[in-house]
Symmetry: none
Subunit: 194 residues, 4 copies
DNA sequence: TATGAATGAGCTTTCATTCAT
DNA sequence: GATGAATGAAAGCTCATTCAT
């Protein structure tokens, strides 16, 4: 794809993200996306194989974005203190959720959607990103730092809590002064630490 | 509605629950429901004002079912020990999730769906049920039993953890022996207790 | 039909008249009528063979009502003065239009509707009532009182003008003081008189 | 819209005109129109926003056609004789009704239809065309040429008489020799002139 | 007499997708 | 690359009508 088309490709992705943010994944149509971008519906099929492909690429793009954001801020500060690393991860995830409020919502919505669950080729990006987190959690459990319990339970508390906190702030339910992130991180830590 | 129709009314609700369980709320059509029940599609409009009404009544029915289940098992065992009461609540919610695996999923899906969010008259049943839980949490915070933090964060950990655990069991990710509920309850308690 | 049913029969007719007054004939459904009367839809099919029959009976009833109203006020005042008789007819028609503002509208709407045009047995009542007017007009033409021109043209001016004037008054476009009926009658007379 | 589509656009309008001519406006469905044109029903929504838009554009098109027809034949023959101008207008309207027998019927039907009455943006074309006639009539009244009476009464006689005469000819009720237009125009003039 | 239940046909509208230009 | 045109399928909903009770 050339420059010009690269731009349009990104515009389509961006408007799809916006629309998924507003309504259910299943309610977002290629029609609506095209209208938002200001192109004709059929144009979308030049950039994407079909609707599933569009949703899928939105997902992959957002996962990659988040993944890159986190890795960049963690890998560069290597530490042998596992607990500190976890806490840094929480903070970075929270920063991401604050900076890209739509991104986490979209990732979560697509992940839960029927469309994604039944998609042919699911995101390799997601597997990879998830794999890193899984490795971290397993290491934490193995070293006795985290509770010896199925990792999905730990993972759920981490992500759902951070996302809810960011959403609450974003919607103005409370301010960062009312509920400092430290308290939230402490709550997560209390939950998952052995 | 008379006897005979009461049966069909419930069949429609039941099949709608099944379908919402399988796919996104927005993807469940009156057509599909009718086909599952074995009636003509227009027949649904005898029992429900429109599609929104159908979804809404499914929601209310499930919330009432859960509410009744929980209240019946808690109110009858009054205690002045607040902590014991919380732990009992967790257990009862878990029992419900185990017994009616689709119910919690459906409640959650509808609650998150765009359709419900933008519905005219939202469920009074839900407001009431939720109000009781809110009161409990606020009391727990006030007495210093729970962390002095926004209650939605506590609530999220309780529900999402219990639901995920039940789902994991249901999908065979692990058995009750592998991950006893006590451990899960302990994790929740560690998270929310002051 | 017994007394009770006679009442319901008339209620159905009355509500149908109301609905036809508000919208297009083709838009009035048995559903809506039943709802207005407060009965079940299927009940209508006890009093009327089908929808066409309902519309047809509404039409006949209204035509008979108008016919009786006019005849009663004209036949009882026999006169050999043909011009005076015409003018009396205009006045009586106008009184009817004022007293039953919906009636003339409904008659006209049904008369123009596709349903009526293609109905099996068209109203004998209408033929009869129309026949009388036709005879009057033909007599007027024969005696040289009216313009020697196709009678439908005369008839149209008479009815459409009287109806429009009554409607204008009813909708408050002007008052009877602003536009006295005498002026309207004079206009009609100027048009049709030889 | 490009060339090819322009053709289909006009075909859709034309078939809609035909159908409205045959039955009630409310009975004309996009289904029927599509079948007549020989396209799939959804295709109509490429050319028209929705059904209302289709009806509305049919109306505007016909009004514009009539308006252009009349203006072209009147404006080009300016005269300071007001009476002559009125009589010319009658003649031209009659010519139009003869040449486009469906057009006037369709305009009238849509104008009376519930759908149009309750439409959002009503035809600017109609307002303009009507405004010109209104101005003429008001001038006629002011100069003492026409009867000093509400203009809608004058307008009704003009239009309904001309239309009925044209329809009568079209349906073969009588020939132009039986009822020359001069007589009809005279009748109208007798009605409206002071 | 009355009604609840049921249905098939029809309606308007939106959708994902394809294709010729 | 881009678009207008086209379509079949499916959606939600209303309708006239029938029938058993």
């Amino acid at each position: 794809m050339k420059k010009k088309s690269q731009l349009k490709y990104e515009q389509i992705l961006a408007e799809t993200v916006n629309l998924i943010n507003e309504k259910d994944v299943a309610m977002v149509s290629t029609n609506q996306v095209a209208k938002k971008v200001g192109i004709s519906q059929s144009n979308i099929y030049i950039y994407f194989k079909n609707r599933d492909d569009l949703i899928s690429q939105v997902f992959t793009t957002e996962v990659n974005k988040m993944s890159a954001f986190v890795i960049e801020r963690i890998e560069t500060r290597p530490t042998d203190n596992l607990k500190a690393k976890f806490e840094l991860t929480f903070t970075v995830l929270f920063q991401y959720a604050l900076k890209f409020p739509k991104s986490m919502t979209v990732i979560q919505k697509i992940l839960q959607s029927y469309a994604y669950t039944h998609m042919q080729d699911q995101s390799a990006a997601y597997s990879k990103a998830n794999g890193m987190l899984v490795a971290s959690l397993d290491a934490g459990i193995a070293t006795g730092l985290l509770k010896p319990i199925d990792r999905t339970l730990l993972q759920n508390i981490i992500f759902s809590t951070i996302k809810l906190h960011a959403d609450n702030l974003h919607r103005g339910r409370y301010t960062e002064r009312d509920v400092p992130f430290d308290q939230v991180a402490a709550m997560i830590w209390d939950a998952i630490s052995a």
